[in-house]
Every structure is written in C-alpha cells, then in structure tokens.
Amino acid sequence: MRKPVWRAVLLAAFALFIFGAAARADEPLRWAADGTANVPFTFHDPAEESHMVGFEYDIMQEIGRRLGREVQFTQNDWDGLIPGLQRGFYDMVADGIEMTPEHVEALDFSRPYYMTTERIVVRRDQAGLDSFERLGGHTVGTIKDTLAERMLRTRPDVTLRSYDEESNAFSDLRNSRLDAVLLDGPIALYYGEADPDFRIVGPPIGHLAYGIAFRKGANQELRHRVDEALQAMIADGALHRILARWNLWTPEMADWTGDRSVPNIVPTEWEHYLASTAPARGWTARFYRYVSFLPLIGRGALLTLMVSGCAMVLAVGMGLALALTRRYGPSWLAALATLYVEIVRGTPLLIQILFIFYGLPSIGIRLSPFVAGVIGLGMNYAAYEAENYRAGLQSVARGQMEAATALNMTHLQALRYVVVPQAFRVVVPVMTNDFISLLKDSSLVSIITLTELSQTYVRLSSTYFDYFGPGLMVGAAYLLLGLPFVRLAKLAERRLAVSERRGGRH
C-alpha cells in the first residue's frame, strides 16, 4: 500500500519539474507580479479563481498581442519579484512599481503606463482626517516601500504602520487599530471606496508613476519594443479603454497623455469586482461560497502534501546517512557532517529556502520552485533527523555492535540488522512529531511562488475579506493531512510495545 503512494508522489513531482523546464523552452514573453490579493493590479478573479485578471494583467496581455508573442504570467511573492527578475526567471515585472530615482538606478524601466496619486481612506463615520496635514497625531497605515510610506516618514507626529499586504492594512482600519490608511490611488479605490465601511477623503496627495521593470542593462531590444507598444496604446486609446473598464482613468493620466476624450465605456471590470466581492448575505450564500473554495483548498493541500512528502523522504534518507557518518564514519567525514548539522540548525529555514531558490542560480544551479522547496525543507529537516537518529544510535548499547562483529557480521550488516532497528524504536516518536512540524513548515515554500495551503488561505481571505471561514477550512485541511502521521505514531508505538511484551505471555 505504501509503495504505490510514494511512487505517485515522486512521479507527480517529477512531472512538475519537467513541466517547469519545458515551459521555459518555447520563449514566451515572461513577466511576473505578486498576484496574491493584489487588487486591482493582477489578481485571481473572485468569481473564477483559476482566472487571472487586473488592469496590469490586461495591459500586459495587450502588449503581448501587439508584439505578437504569447504572454506568460509568473506568480511570485512581492519580496521575490526583483531578485527573480535579476536571476532571469522572467523578463519583466509589472506590479505597481514606482519609478523612483532609487528604482531607476537599480532597474531599467519602460515608459510609465500609469500615473496616480496617494489617497487617504478612513472609516465611513470618521471625520476630520481629510488632508495630509491633518493626519498628525493619528495612527496611519500604508504599504512598505511606497511613496506614501516615504512621505509619512517625514512626519514625526504620525504613528506609522507599514504592511506587506494591503488587505491587512484595511482589516486593521476596520478594527480601529488604524485611524486612516494612505495608499496608491488604485488600492484606495478598490479596497476603500469599494467597501461600504470605508471612503476616500480629501484631495490627491503627491504624484507617482508606474513602469514595467527590466533587469538592468539586459533586454534593451525588448524594452524598446514594449515602449513602442505602450506609445501606440496611448495614441490609439487602447490604454485609456483598459483603464476606463477598471474605473482607473485619472486626471493625471489625462494630463500626461493629453487624451481628454471621454469614451463611452462602462467600467465593467470595476462593477464585476464589486458584484463578486459583495459580502455573501445569508447562510446559504455563505455556504455556497465556502463550497466553491474546496477545489482551491484541495489543490493547495495536494501541493503541501507533495512538497512535505518528498521533503520527508529526503530528510529521512539524508538524516540517516548523516547520523551514521557522524557515529561510525572516518573522522574528517564525521566533522563535515557535524559542520553541516550545525550550520543548518543555526540558520533560519526561511533564509535557506530563499538562498536555494534565488541564491544558487548565481553559481549556475537553477531549480524549479517545487524542487527548491523540497530540497530546502528536506535538507533542513535532515539535520534535525540526523540528531534524532544519532541519539537513537547512541542509545543502543556498545555490546550490540560487538556481539554482531563477533558473529562475523560486517559493519554494514551489524548496522542494518542489529543497531539501526533498535535505534529506530527510540526514534519513531520524535520522528512523527518532526513530520507533523515539517508539514506545517512547508507553508514557508509559499515565498518561492508555490501556492500551497497557507498561501491559498492568504489569497482567499484577502480576496473576500473573510479571514474566518477560509481559516477554519485551511486549518482543517492541515489537521487532516497530519492525521495519518498521528495514526502512524500510535501504530508504531503499539507494535513496539507488543513485540516487547509478546514473549511474556508464553
């Protein structure tokens, strides 16, 4: 029973690996954004989760159409976007990146495709916070690395809170942990104005431009063609039409493009978004919405299971090798194994995973996110397993090895038939615990673009502003995944107890 399951998991992992490699071969236009709850830039259509939408997504599609190339979107965590660009995982990043002097220094940019301002959002009943000056003495939230953050930094009288996810900022605003939020216009519109609890107040603040980012010095040719496409889209009104559909055409855009026409365009995307995120009224609506989450959660659970399963196999095999090396290997090899264990246990898993995915390409080792995740988790847990196994091996009396040697077993035979099986019984309870925590730690691979369970939760909850239902569902999924290991631990303990007692009943 056990074997075929493992084989299926390995096969699936392999397929994923191959698929990743094959996709690279036919050279589509590759661009990346953090599509997790990144409304209205690039995000999963709340009405149809497998569908990517967003005004930047539409702009990129249009550029691809004009360049006659297939467009391939790559999901990546915000913090990984630029490192991934520099590693050449994709050619472009379009994710509301401001063309600040610092950014222009580090990256090449296309011409701007969007101009906007910062806006203040408050709770609907809140009065008096309607200008930048009047924020003084209040707690204000924003997104890190934005113009708004830099502006608020200059205001010692404002208590500043910087967030990674806009949805978290708004949920704190809702819970009165914040008095106001200062954010880029599109975010203020889609999270603030779209929500009956909030409103945008006061005049626009500051000025900012978004551009498509390219790796510094690379892809000049592509950058020029993208610029030409953008220029053409401005000239023939295509950009205007896209932005109007998203209700995002601004006076700043009109000033910049000189396009003062008012095309007769219904903001269909904006309305679609309003309709699909409207809070589900009544229990049945809520129930159906939760049911509609199930395939997504199932997919996340499958990925979590595959990553964890493969990582466990790696951790057990490598951990055993390390432990045996440390106890029985030649001294220089044992020292190396010790060094490995100390390094891995002394550094955070998060750093290790980021290093393997983004760092190793510097020395020519490029791994797919899945393989990098498995290796990161597996190699990390191998160090802990090694310590566990070493303690197990140490718990086996020296005389056992001697007795086996005196019976003319080779070293390996003695380990295999005598020492390891005895160490195993000591090790099993700890090991099953480790497996359960590995399952939970697998959530860390979400930072290298894998949409596993926890990432699914982030996405669902921030799309629907509902942290409760999806939280319970995802939590239940984790428990369900861990259940086999809890059962396994019980079973193993019972079997060991039986084998120790069995003789006594004769």
């Binding site: 007795a403 003319n408 004769h506």
Partner: protein, 289 residues
Amino acid sequence: MVVFFIMSFVGCLRLPETHPSYDDREIAGPVETGPAFCVETVLRAESICKSFDSHKVLRNVSLTVERGELVSIIGPSGCGKSTFLRCLNFLEIPDSGTVTIADDSIRRNEGPWRSSDEAQAHQLRAHVGMVFQSFNLFPHRTVLDNVMLAPRVVKHVAPSVIESEARELLAKVGLEAAALRYPATLSGGQQQRAAIARALAMRPDVMLYDEPTSALDPRVAEEVLEVMRALDREGMTQIVVTHDMRFARAASDRIVFMESGEIIEIADPDEMYLNPKDSRTREFLGASL
C-alpha cells in the same frame, strides 16, 4: 616451524587422550595434524602486545591451544584477560603479534588497521565464537531469530536449514521452549545459554567466554557451566576468562594465570593449585581460595 612442531609434540605427551570431534566436517581441514594419536593446534597467539594510549595492557602474550581443550584464564582484575581474549577475534586490534586460528593467520606490526586487514579479520572470525559477560543478545529479536540471524545474513544458508539447526542448538542448551520468546523475558542463565547457542550457530572452531557467569547468581551460573562442560565432552575448544576458581580447577585442561599484562604461568589445574611455580601465582590463588 620446528619450534611449533616440538611444542605440539610436547602437547601430545602432556595430553595423550584425543577428544571426540565436535564436528567431523571441520576436522578434515587443510591443517597438518601430525601423528594419529596427536592433537591439532587450533589457536596460536604469539607475542601479542596492546597499549591503550601509553598504558601497556598486554606485553608479549603467547598462548597455544589445541583442539578440544578447555583453557581457563585467571588473574587479578585489570590484568588484561578481557583485552587478550578480545584480541583473539580482533574486537580489539593488537598493536603487534600474530594470531593464528585454524588455517587463518593475521600478523600485526604496529601499522594502521586497513580495510584489507579487516577483510582478513573477517575470515579469521569465522572460526571463533564469543560469549560476553552481559550476554549482548539482540533484544528486538526472538531467541530463535537471535540464533538464526548471523548464519542467514553472513553465510546465506537456506532458512529451512538454519531453522532446524537453530532449534537443535536451542535444544542442546535446554531452551527449545523459549525459542519464540524475547530475550528480555528470560532469566540471566537462559539468556547466557541462548548467547552460547547463537555463537555455536556459526560453527566455530573455538569458543571464547569472557566471564560468562559473573553476572549470574551461583545456582543459575551452574546451568551455563553445565552447557560448557557438555560442549567440552563433545570436543569443542573453549577459552574461558573466569573468576570462578572451582570451575577453573574442575573443568579446565589447563589454566593460564595472568598478571599485569603478562602470562605468569600455564599449568594443569591440579599442578597449579597444589604446586604453583611462581610466587605471584601462589599469592593470587591463596587470596582467592
């Protein structure tokens, strides 16, 4: 070679009775057995030296044992008895000296222990069984599995053959009823007898015992000693490190007295007890009687 022959001859004179063989197949080995009435040297240790760090534990220890003999090694605590015994099957690697058992020989000369040496030791260990003071049975396997394990994985004998042999051996040590029990459920005496059966399953030429009864109370110890006497009657060659003077005197063909890493005296039991040649032997026996 000449010395060896003379020594064997002297041995012949001293021990004129030939023992019935434990196993006919093994007596037909390539070793030259000499005159028909004479016995065959099965183990020879020459000038074994062993130090732990700078502490010299064995100094030029030499011993020759003939097939079918039961040799006891006695001596004060810490004199190197265990170390010597463990050098015979290379659980401890001697610094220098030669160990010859049946037709395999390993010569040590201070050098490092290489994997080719380990391969030789593997050959040599095939002739030797060992029984420990603390039994060292494999606790995760039944008594029967303990006995069957090594023949199965080392010699690759067919399981059906191994099992019938193992059950015979267990019967011989009086444990046929305990075959399917786990070691933890046996008394110390039963465990030690199981350990003897386990060692015998590899069909050794020589059995080594390191204080086989020291962990047992006297009544239980007697069960184990009885098994050893029975093996002696069958012609098994046995070397026993022991503090049990009564057993040493009654059952041994020869007794070796060691002190401070040296063999002081080798003699027949009665001769050693009644007429020890060395004052240190006399002192030790006087103290322990």
